[in-house]
Symmetry: C2
Subunit: 116 residues, 2 copies
């Protein structure tokens, strides 16, 4: 069977002293932003609540600022929202990813013209 043409993928991560942001926490934050709840976000992703909590707390510790505003109580059991800095970071990260992916795909096409 004919193989698919070769293509490239990229993964972008942000570091300060250590890894502080990447595709995993970005996806989690997007789900929280959409669901307005960590519990609903993790259910949508098939991720354990405790794991989501660990990911968020680890990222906040390394970044040095909060990502999530949460309120407890009420009929719905409280909700969660992204902080303004989390929204800005997420937006910039996704823009960096998209632009880098577009660049890499273009450069790949130039370099690997004969390999495909």
């Amino acid at each position: 069977m004919e193989k698919k043409p070769m293509h490239c993928t990229i993964v972008v991560r942000l570091y300060n002293d250590e890894k502080c942001f990447g595709p995993g926490v970005a996806e989690l934050l997007e789900h929280i932003d959409e669901e307005k709840s960590i519990r609903k976000a993790t259910a949508a992703m098939g991720m354990a609540y405790s794991k989501a909590w660990r990911i968020i707390k680890a990222a906040e510790a390394v970044l040095g600022f909060p990502l999530i505003l949460s309120s407890t109580g009420g009929a719905g059991g409280g909700g969660a929202a992204l902080t303004d800095r989390a929204k800005q970071l997420l937006k910039n990260f996704r823009t960096l990813e998209q632009d880098t992916r577009a660049f890499a795909e273009q450069r790949f096409a130039e370099l690997f013209d004969e390999e495909k």
Copy 2:
């Protein structure tokens, strides 16, 4: 203690039907090219010979062409060299990586000016 300024890293991988080339096999091929021997290359990298062999054979299977020319016997126990296609692939991959990294770092600087 002050954290280091934030920076970005990128990982580039090549896929056809599945992953066929990335930084791990690239580094291994560079060591083989330098040492002219799989055994010496793995010793330099602290990698098991059997692991290197598996990595090479898996990449060759997915790529659909040979990466290594090996000769056995002789006083030195035989040697290994990269095929021409392996050399070309390695060169293109490293160029793609370097150019993509340079682009991402530039774009990061533009986007994250205030976060750093």
